[in-house]
């Protein structure tokens, strides 16, 4: 009767399309209530998957390969959990953030609903073409959110973002076409045993297209060019949504394809994993250095996202063991929670001071202690310091790297952590700085709803507390192999 799996897709679709006719700026309470339900659904799903392993649903009752299958295993349920856990506090934050007349909040709720439906759909789909549609749903919703109500800078960022998304999904679509032609199906489950190391050349090309397209969508260096302006330019709740969740979706898909249908290719070519890993390492170094240099606080956080995404790709050469997968998912959680919190604090700081320069934060620790504390906690996670989810991710990643003698990855992880400390503490330092009250460049702090600060703190604290208990999550990830 109740099937949490399918409702996780239908529910956001419903509230998104109900929020639109309700009128501009409306739909917040509907969304928050529905997100609460979604959170419960995903917890039910966790229980279901823990009890009975992989869940498969045949849409329309046909079943693959004629119909479309939805499937949930540990990996996808973990990503679903991350999505709903972040979305609910974020929605409460957004309700307070957007004033009734704010142009950027006019259609926030329907767009947000479609985005979440796309994400949930993407995590549950086991059909390559259906995944293409969910990718487009996510991509267009994200672009719409970035552009909504924005000035020229934001529109330009949204355009750049849009073309990057379209290129990525175009490459993906061509790959789907080639796969269908070669095997006559787009069902992942049916494909998995068919694709072997002796696959025809078109399959290698398809794999390459998917890899390139999804790396572009995940903003892996050097395809990251679109991310900082888009994430740094959007309004704070949107930036949080994008940085914490949207980029993870294409990463998840890449991982899913790598381990699923394309396992026959990726396992055969051991060196292949070093391509994303090398780019990931460069992303960490480049993104961190740019973050250290950035003048505007949201740009700093956006470049930090470029760097943090790099860690996700370091796992690819290590995927022969399960530890690397766990490290990747832990990093996705750590970064998701912390980055959402960080963008939320940035929203508070910018709203409170009316400025977005790092230099204008002096005195923030005194005026907005809660927000600065939340920023600090999120920063601890991003830096990978204990006790935090980021630390557990780093620990597992280094351990996996050492187990396979990949010393260079361990070194990159450590250096990345130190660089992250560089940009995190740059902000904290500024926040702790006291300027004499008479000084001309003292920022004036405007009062804000406390909800904003508390929601940021909630997510930041979650990112740290996860570092004290990661067993259940890691065991969930291990319930795997839906494809």
């Amino acid at each position: 009767m109740t099937d949490p799996l399918v409702w996780l897709i239908l529910l956001p679709l419903t509230w998104a399309s109900l929020a639109f006719p309700s009128g501009p700026g409306r739909g917040a309470w509907l969304a928050i209530a529905a997100l609460g339900v979604q959170l419960m659904l995903v917890l039910l799903l966790v229980v279901d998957v823990t009890e009975s392993g992989i869940l498969v649903r045949a849409v329309g009752g046909w079943g693959a390969p004629l119909g479309i299958d939805l499937a949930a295993d540990g990996l996808s349920v973990a990503m679903l959990l991350l999505t709903q856990v972040i979305a609910l506090p974020l929605a409460i934050y957004a309700r307070s953030y957007f004033s009734a007349t704010a142009p950027e909040g006019k259609y926030f709720w329907p767009l947000c609903g479609f985005l979440l439906a796309g994400l949930n759909g993407l995590y549950l789909s086991a059909d390559l073409f259906n995944l293409y549609v969910t990718l487009e749903l996510v991509g267009l919703a994200a672009v719409g959110l970035v552009a909504a109500g924005g000035g020229a800078r934001q529109i330009a960022a949204a355009l750049r973002y849009l073309f990057a998304m379209l290129l990525g999904s175009g490459a993906y679509l061509l790959a789907v076409a080639l796969i269908y032609a070669a095997y006559g199906t787009v069902s992942m489950k049916t494909l998995a045993p068919l694709i072997t190391a002796e696959a025809p050349v078109v399959i290698w090309l398809a794999g390459g297209l998917m890899l390139a397209g999804l790396m572009l969508k995940t903003a892996l260096f050097p395809f990251h060019f679109w991310l900082p302006p888009a994430h740094g330019g959007a309004s704070a709740p949107v930036s949080a949504l994008l940085s914490a969740l949207v980029v993870k979706a294409s990463f998840y898909l890449l991982l899913r394809l790598w381990l699923g249908p394309f396992a026959g290719l990726t396992a055969g070519a051991g060196l292949l994993g070093w391509l994303p890993a090398t780019l990931g390492a460069l992303a960490i170094l480049w993104g961190s250095c740019q973050a250290i240099r950035a003048q505007r606080i949201k740009m700093l956080i956006a470049y930090s996202t470029v760097a943090q995404l790099g860690y996700l790709f370091l796992i690819f050469p290590l995927l022969t063991g399960e530890a690397a997968l766990r490290a990747g998912i832990m990093q996705a959680f750590a970064h998701g929670l912390a980055k959402a919190a960080m963008f939320m604090t940035a929203g508070v700081l910018i709203k409170a001071t009316g400025q977005d320069r790092v230099d204008s934060l002096a005195g923030a620790a005194q005026q907005l202690p809660l927000t600065m504390f939340a920023f600090g906690l999120a920063g601890v996670t991003l830096t990978g310091l204990p006790p935090s989810a980021g630390f557990l991710a780093k620990w597992q990643l280094i351990e996996a790297a050492m187990a396979q003698g990949a010393w260079i990855i361990a070194v990159v992880v450590l250096v990345g952590g130190l660089l992250a400390a560089g940009y995190v503490f740059r902000v904290l330092r500024q926040g702790f700085l006291l300027v004499p009250a008479t000084s001309a460049d003292t920022s004036v702090f405007h009062p804000l709803p406390r909800t904003l600060e508390w929601m940021a703190l909630l997510l930041a604290a979650a990112s740290v507390l996860l570092g004290l208990r990661g067993v259940e999550l890691m065991e969930l990830v291990s319930l795997g192999g839906a494809v």
Binding site: F129, Y132, V133, E136, L140, V143, G144, A147, G151, A152, R153, I155, A156, A158, L159, R160, L162, F163, L166, L167, G170, A171, L173, L174, V176, A177, L178, Y180, A181, G184, F225, P228, P229, Q290, R293, A294, Q295, R296, M299
Partner: protein, 100 residues
């Protein structure tokens, strides 16, 4: 050579042409054209290659119908953004990368 395979090859060329266009052309309206070429190319490969033995296949045809609708949605959104950018800046080319 069947017409399926022929048009699949044309599709491949169109796709490549479209991708190059999106990457190289700075004028935004033309970039939208290039994106549509890219999409059409992919659609041709999807249907053409599946029908390379000369028999019609309804599954990829339905997929392409879906794809066309998605493409027009993306095109409309892109146009809306371009027009808005033009209204705000009077330009039809994206500004140089501003990294900060």
């Amino acid at each position: 050579m069947t017409s399926g395979l022929l048009f699949a090859c044309v599709g491949a060329l169109l796709f490549v042409m479209g991708v190059s266009g999106v990457l190289l052309i700075r004028h935004l309206l033309r970039r939208i054209l290039a994106f549509n070429l890219m999409g059409s190319g992919a659609f041709l490969v999807l249907v053409g290659l599946a029908q390379r033995h000369g028999v019609a296949d309804p599954v990829p045809q339905a997929m392409v119908l879906t794809g066309i609708v998605v493409a027009v949605a993306a095109t409309a959104l892109a146009l809306a953004l371009v027009r808005r950018l033009h209204a705000l800046t009077g330009k039809l080319e994206p500004p140089e990368a501003d990294d900060d």
